[in-house]
């Protein structure tokens, strides 16, 4: 029986590399048509920008990863454009081009990646409002800016990176609004120095944007994205009063959140992580879980970024190799473990420098749309508040729409916890349900 790797981003690629090195031929599955994940996503055929244009300071990493993946193509069973929509014991249920297929496995390494963590605010469903990650994908893989005058709102390294990439590509950046107080000061805090180049890049983006005269405001409280049918501006508060910015598009995001649905369906235990303020699947340093045959790596477990994902992907693959009774390169494993420990310290500092502003989520107005799938308001959740988030989901359908709570989940938990006056971990976590994404009825019936 085979080893399956779900996700061909940085973690999945490095996992496949180690498995092949150990003499295995893994099945590598990705929903996208090609490898790279979101961070190193490859543009479609016929696009001509250089890797430097696409990936900036990380171009050499993207190139190395793509080169390695291309070398692996003949040695792996690659299933691109394939969605894994359910996990059963030793089976992955997949969908490709409308056809379903069950892929058996003895070990599965889930490298499912991440998406933006968002906080709903008035106007966030208007055409022209996208996640920060989405704004980046538009530029990277389609050569497009999301609007003529783009405001970026949120917090975290991605806020500054995307704003920098837009300005650099010739887009007009109307403003960068950081909900963290004095982000610039936070960048200077001690722990971040451990991040070396990552830290320096962050400083460079902020400095460059300032130098270019981009309006940068830190410690903002967003009030609303304005517009009637389309975005025309953004209103926010500082301690100096209420301000307005004209723009026709807005990118929003407050850090990333792991895509944990498949780990959940596989039965892996979850624990509340107070630093990242969410429920994360539990795995040990090597990536093993409490479910036999299920292994986890990368941003799909805990947000650590692409460098950590590469290391964790290789590390977890060695665990699989060991569990199959094959020879392990112990020196390589020790190197990976040391590197992962170093990265963990930097990540902790980063999480503390850009905390998720949960009070912003908890305090959203009653008439703000919380669930964008079905236009359900925060007030509806408060009115139906019960002590457990899945129960409240059943009553309100918040978290039950097409996205399965991917978008509203973190904010919904904050709204509910605040309504009940309890810590957010007490309301529990939204349980995953198959299919993890919409599929045709005939596929579900066949599964």
């Amino acid at each position: 029986m085979t080893v399956a790797v779900v996700g061909a981003g940085p973690a999945g690629t490095r996992a496949a590399e180690v498995l092949v090195q150990a003499g295995l031929r893994p099945v590598v599955i990705d929903e996208a048509p090609d490898n790279g994940g979101r961070i190193y996503q490859r543009p479609p055929a016929g696009f001509r920008r250089s890797d430097g244009d696409l990936y900036g300071t990380e171009a050499h990493k993207a190139q190395a990863l793509h080169r390695r993946f291309d070398q692996l193509r003949g040695a792996i069973d690659l299933r691109a454009s394939t969605l894994v929509w359910d996990v059963r014991p030793q089976q992955l249920l997949t969908l490709r081009d409308g056809r379903s297929e069950t892929i058996g496995f003895e070990q599965a390494i889930l490298c499912t990646g991440a998406m933006d963590r968002v906080i709903p605010l008035p106007g966030w469903t208007l055409p022209g409002v996208y996640t920060l990650g989405g704004a980046q994908v538009a530029l990277k893989t389609q050569g497009c800016a999301i609007g003529q005058a783009v405001a970026f709102l949120g917090t975290g390294p991605l806020l500054w990176l995307v704003a920098y990439q837009y300005a650099k590509a010739g887009a007009r950046v109307a403003a960068v609004l950081d909900t963290t107080d004095f982000a610039t000061k936070a960048w200077r805090t001690g722990g971040l120095l451990r991040g070396g180049r990552t830290f320096l890049n962050g400083l460079r983006y902020v400095g460059w944007l300032r130098w270019r005269g981009v309006r940068i405001v830190e410690g903002v409280v967003p009030e609303a994205i304005e517009g009637d049918g389309e975005v025309t501006g953004l209103r926010y508060r500082t301690r100096h009063g209420t301000h307005h910015i004209a723009c026709d598009a807005v990118g929003i995001g407050w850090g990333l959140k792991p895509e944990t649905q498949l780990a959940d369906l596989a039965g892996v235990s979850f624990a509340f992580d107070p630093v990242q303020r969410g429920w994360l699947p539990v795995r040990n340093e090597a990536g093993r879980t409490d479910i036999r045959g299920i292994y986890l790596a990368g941003d799909g477990v805990r947000i650590g970024g692409a460098d950590v994902a590469e290391l964790a992907g290789a590390r977890v693959a060695w665990a699989v190799v060991e569990d199959r009774g094959l020879p392990v390169d112990h020196a390589a494993v020790a190197r990976l473990d040391r590197a992962l420990q170093r990265q963990a310290k930097f990540r902790q500092a980063l999480d503390r420098a850009f905390p998720y502003p949960h009070r912003l989520a908890a305090g959203m107005a009653d008439d703000t749309i919380l669930c964008r799938c079905e236009a359900i308001t925060a007030g509806a959740m408060r009115a139906a508040a019960t002590a457990e988030v899945n129960r409240t989901k059943a009553l309100t359908r918040i978290g039950m729409g097409r996205c399965q709570g991917r978008v509203c989940g973190p904010a919904a938990a904050e709204v509910l916890a605040a309504a009940l006056g309890c810590p957010v971990e007490q309301v529990g976590r939204l349980r995953g349900q198959p299919p993890v994404k919409p599929i045709p009825m005939r596929t579900a019936a066949a599964g």
Binding site: T131, G134, C144, I146, E374, K437, P438
Partner: protein, 90 residues
């Protein structure tokens, strides 16, 4: 709001139809790009709160679905435009 093409504009043109009207995209455009280069929105919320134009661009939020003749419901952000495609905005 309209998408602004900042780069990669030398690609060949692709003709498709949007709600029956002729429209032009570029080879390698996703339907999300193709539609938003021609129009302000992608679909109308079935819950009465107005128009939508996608959100996450990465197949997670499921907010950009449209109808393609012969294929049914697809996610615009992860479907590439093709010559002659007939796209309907729900």
């Amino acid at each position: 709001m309209r998408l602004v093409r900042l780069a990669e504009t030398a690609r060949p043109a692709v003709a498709f139809t949007l709600d029956g009207a002729p429209a032009t995209a570029l080879a390698g455009d996703t339907l999300l790009t193709a539609i938003l280069a021609n129009a302000e929105h992608v679909r109308t919320s079935e819950f009465g709160d107005g128009n939508r134009a996608g959100f996450c661009w990465m197949g997670a939020c499921q907010d950009c679905w449209v109808l393609v003749q012969g294929e049914g419901r697809v996610r615009a952000c992860s479907t590439y435009v093709a010559q002659g495609m007939a796209v309907l905005r729900p």
